[in-house]
Structure formats: C-alpha cells, structure tokens
Symmetry: C2
C-alpha cells in the first residue's frame, strides 16, 4: 500500500517524517494553483519567496514579480496571485517570483525539512501529479498550507482527493488519522466541491475581494498534465 | 449563534482566542473520560499534572495517583488511566492526581492561556456539559488533545458532536473551517462511532494493549450528568 501522511497545517509539519519523502504542498486558493498554471502557460520557472523584499531584488534580475498579502495584490508588483494573470503569453519564456500569505513559505519549509521532492499541488493537474508520485514510489507527505497556520477546508479537500487516488481505495490499512479525516471529508464534498466550499472561511474572504472566477478555475480538475516540482531554488516542469 | 472554535491539536492552540472563553479539553481515549468518571464516582477532586514526579509528590500529600505513558500504567502508581479503576468506591472522598501522555498537559495549557473555565469533555456527560456551556454563554474553544500533537479521529469526533449540539444545526454561519470539518466528520460517523473508530490509530494502539472495554465505555453517551471543570488547580463537579 502507498505510504501517505497528511499534515493539516504548516504548524504541524515538524511532527511528520519528511526526509527522503515527496512533499506535495497545497495552497489551492490560490498559490499552488497559480504556480502550476504559470509553468503550464510557458514560464521557465517559478521562484517561491517568503518576503516582499526578496521578490523586489529578483525583479532587478529580470523576474516578473507576483504576490498578495491577505488576498490583496502587493503595491508595485507586476501581478497579484490570480492564475488568469499567468495566461495569454504573459509569462512565456519568463521567470516568475511569487510571494503569498500562506503557500510559498510551505515550499521553503518542506525543502528545509529534507524532502526529496517538493511538488506544487492543484486540482488542475491532480491526475498527472498522482501518476508522477506513484511512478516515483517514495512515501508522500501532503502539506496543507491553510490560512496563517489554521486548518482550512479547500486544502484538506485536495489532500483527500489526492490520498484517494494514491491509495486506490484502500484506506483502512492507514496509520494516519488526518488522512482518514480528509478522505471522509472528500467523500462528503466530491460531488460538488465548489458548492461545498461556499461555507469555508477563505471562500468567504475571496468572495468579498471578487475572486469568484479564480476560485472556480482553481477547483477545475485535470485541465493540464504538466507536473511542477522544485529543483534547487525554483519550481519547474518535472514530467 | 453560539460562537465556537475547534482546535484540532494542542500545537495549534496559540492560534485560537482563548482569553475569557470556556475551553473544553478532549482526550476521549481516555484521560478526560477517566477524569469525568472519577468525579462522578465520588472523588473530591482530580488534579491533572504533567510529570510523573509531580504525581509522586502528591502521593505523599494523600492523593491516589494514576497515570500512563504510551498507554501503559506507570510503575509504582496506584492506577493506570482506565475509567473502570475509578469505580466501586475506589475514589470515594479521595483526591486523584492523574498524568497522561496527551490530555493532562492540555488542561494546564488552556488555564495558562487565560481560559475562563476549563472543562473536561467526554461522551459520558456530553448533554450536561453542553447545557452548562449554553447557560454560561461564553464563546467555546474545543481543544482536542490528539496523540503527541498529531490530530486524531476520536477527539475530532467528540468536537463535532459537541459543536452540533451547541449550534442547534446552524453551522453555515460559522467562520471556523476546523469546526465545519469535525461537524461533517461526526455526521459521517454518528450512527456508529465505535465501528467508525476501528480504523483510527489510537484504537489500534489500545486494542493491542487490551483496552477494548475502556474504549466501549468511553464512547457511551450520557451515562451521567456530572459536569467537570477546573477550579484553581483541581478539577471538580461544577454543576
């Protein structure tokens, strides 16, 4: 059986065995969905950075810089955190530096903890990512970015969807209660994830900021087959 | 609507607003179920202590001492962590000091964080506890003890059961994704919690230690109406 552990918040990452494992970082709304879209749309690489200052330094090295804090675009940045801004050739043959409230710091944390590979998780390429993980064969840690370390529904749901696919419906032999939890949550929500998430705190937050279109897009499954993972300091196409 | 926040692990407690709120600490298998049973069975008070040494000092002050580490009774202690050891007059008019792997440290943490009241949660008295919380009226934080800071199913399920009762089936106005999560988990498991928990890691752990009878008892609902909360350094009957 595939070995899988779900970490519901970055504040719980220290409890997981990360070394020599593949870590899938999830910030469905919207960082990791945006990273996957950027690479699929032709960006050479995405660099996830923690601070606004780091991004500004990279702008001076030719990067397009994108980012948000609390859902708002950062002043002076080229882009916010919407996947649609990555489309229509905006990033073709360019490098993107991205800094967000929750997702980008998880990528750094997983690398620092000694993961073999850090993968950007999204519904947009979930089947391709699942196949890549199965072929690689290492145990998988699914790290939910959450909201400022609080557990959230949308990242937990993706964790459940990925776990279900990785486990081929064999959950009962699992020794990870968080994984059981997200599998059951996903089962409850699977028929209409968009509708299920209307009650979630981040859906409410983004709705107030008029990001409905982004949310609908980020919940679409298997729009492309590009798999995105970290190599050295950048995220690239790895399949 | 009743204000409620579920904290799925002690490692996430710092993210919750605790001051001037009532905190329900949950270690269903078995610490908080044992504490409630001890008080219901006539113990004057239960003192939750973090270390084995603290318990031994209290023994010299007349306390019966009970405790486990990793599910095993501590050598030299009067009792382990089984609720059945508290019955048949074993604690009548006595004081009990209890130290366990997960539950007792949460009681201390919630007190330190400035909770108005710290309540021991159990299925055994869930309706009485719910009524007490409603009458008091303060916002409620439900703190799951988990297993060594990892999220677990049984404490999450109790959180869902209590949230459902406190909210009178009005969950959609909630601004706490963890609460939504445990409500849905409880809905899935409610018809047979014992069967649902067979897959959980702690059920498996306690089964290997032959604690099935304890688990069945700890999942029984509303065996008594005694509500148990912390006053100064001890847990007492508060209703």
């Amino acid at each position: 059986m595939f070995e899988i552990e779900v970490v519901l918040s970055p504040a719980l990452l220290h409890l997981a065995e990360v070394k020599n494992r593949n870590v899938v970082v999830i910030d469905i709304l919207r960082a990791t969905s945006t990273i996957c879209t950027a690479i699929h749309e032709g960006a050479i690489a995405v660099r996830a950075v923690e601070s606004i200052d780091e991004a500004i330094i990279l702008k001076n090295h030719g990067y397009v810089i994108a980012g948000e804090r609390n859902g708002h675009k950062i002043e002076g940045f080229d882009m916010g955190n919407s996947p649609f801004e990555c489309m229509k050739g905006a990033l073709t043959n360019k490098k993107l530096a991205l800094t967000t409230t929750n997702g980008t710091k998880c990528i750094t944390a997983a690398m620092t903890a000694g993961a073999s590979n850090v993968i950007a998780g999204s519904f947009l390429n979930i089947d391709a990512t699942c196949e890549w993980l199965k072929t690689d064969g290492r145990p998988v840690v699914v790290l939910c970015a959450g909201w400022k370390d609080k557990v959230n529904l949308e990242d937990s749901l993706y964790a459940g969807a990925l776990a279900k696919k990785l486990l081929n419906n064999e959950p009962n032999a699992l020794d990870c209660d968080s994984t059981h939890m997200v599998l059951d949550l996903y089962e409850k929500a699977a028929s209409n994830i968009g509708e299920y998430l209307v009650k979630s705190s981040h859906y409410q937050r983004l709705s107030h900021l008029h990001h409905q279109e982004d949310m609908e897009y980020c919940l679409s499954e298997n729009i492309f087959t590009t798999v995105v993972g970290q190599k050295n300091v950048e995220m690239l196409k790895i399949n």
